[in-house]
């Protein structure tokens, strides 16, 4: 019986925080990748946009998302240098509260362009919290061998201690 889901690696941010969470040397032995995140940043605000790049590339990303805050819904198209697969909670959010996110990447080792889907929620004790549902494409035929979650919209921010991300590999046979 096939073991479809396998944990590839987990990163937990230590004291002092970290500007990025990175997965490198991702083997091509799976069909799809799943990245589950629990993130909080140090931005002065309730949320902090998370950036994602693969293989160190800063070109040819596009993404779209729907985001609701409990009172309104917006949609957005963006990209180019990186993707924004959601929001981490940030310094003004309820203490010790982390966002909950999921990023799915099928056929990551194929020669097709790479599609992404993502969804995440932040919570702020009932006020100014966000839920995001999105999709994206990295228009590149290279196999994905590394993933970086970061703060490219800001420059100098960090993920705080206890932020975690786990990368799973999924096999279809």
């Amino acid at each position: 019986m096939a073991n479809t889901y396998e944990a590839i690696a987990t990163v937990t941010v230590g004291s002092g925080g970290a500007a990025t969470i990175e997965f490198t040397s991702i083997p091509a032995t799976y069909t799809d990748l799943l990245l589950l995140t629990s993130l909080r940043g140090d931005r002065s605000g309730v949320t902090q946009a998370v950036s994602l790049i693969v293989n160190g590339s800063t070109t040819t990303y596009t993404h779209k998302y729907i985001r609701g805050d409990g009172s309104s819904v917006i949609s957005f198209t963006g990209g180019s240098g990186w993707m924004n697969p959601g929001q981490a909670t940030a310094a003004s959010s309820t203490s010790n509260t982390f966002s909950n996110g999921k990023i799915y990447i099928p056929n990551y080792a194929s020669s097709n362009n790479k599609s992404f889907s993502f969804e995440d929620v932040s919570e702020n004790n009932g006020t100014e919290a966000y839920a995001t549902l999105g999709v994206g494409v990295w228009s590149n035929a290279s196999a994905i061998t590394s993933i970086e979650l970061g703060q490219r919209d800001y420059g100098s921010l960090k993920f705080v201690q206890y932020s975690t991300a786990t990368l799973y590999g999924i096999k279809n046979s």
């Binding site: 479809t4 779209k64 729907i66 949609s75 056929n107 969804e119 999105g134 279809n172």
Partner: protein
């Protein structure tokens, strides 16, 4: 540790085709998950269960092209369900809950979209108490082929 997530079948298209079908689906799982990478084609994907062409499907969808607004769509008593929005380099995933029971109608949820097209979240029902043993996917109402390189995978999930 019990393995709860198993691949049932997968196909990568070597030629363009109108319909992709997973048949003879075992009833030994609790839920089904489908994952589709759509190389290119029409905006909407549709599905049918058990080759049922009756007016037994309903879908409620919200979707956007990412330009600011969000739209909603509801269609009832149609002959096919929405399976998620497609388009070039799109990813569609669907969860079909309790698919093999013979007591209740079936419900499922899909998420789809591509960076250059649309994004959607859709909930649907299939008004049949029969166990689901096959799933067929098409683009729109079979008006467009799935293109070479598109991939389709069906997983089974066990609750215990």
């Amino acid at each position: 540790m019990a393995i709860t997530y198993e691949p049932i079948a997968t196909t990568t298209l070597s030629t363009a085709t109108t319909t992709v079908t997973f048949s003879s689906i075992s009833g030994s799982y609790t839920d089904l998950v489908y994952v589709i990478y759509n190389k290119s084609g029409a905006t909407n994907l549709s599905l049918r269960f058990n080759s049922d062409t009756g007016s037994n499907y309903s879908s409620t969808q919200f979707y956007t092209d990412g330009s600011g607004g969000v739209a909603a769509l509801q269609q009832t008593s149609t002959t096919r369900a929405l399976a998620g929005v497609g388009g070039a380099d799109s990813l569609i995933t669907g969860n079909v809950m309790n698919y093999s029971n013979t007591t209740t109608n079936k419900t499922f949820i899909t998420r789809g979209g591509g960076g250059g097209t649309y994004i959607d979240l859709t909930v649907s029902s299939y008004r049949s108490t029969s166990a689901i043993t096959s799933i067929s996917f098409q683009q729109d109402a079979a008006s467009t082929d799935f293109q070479t390189g598109s991939t389709f995978t069906l997983y089974g999930i066990k609750a215990a």
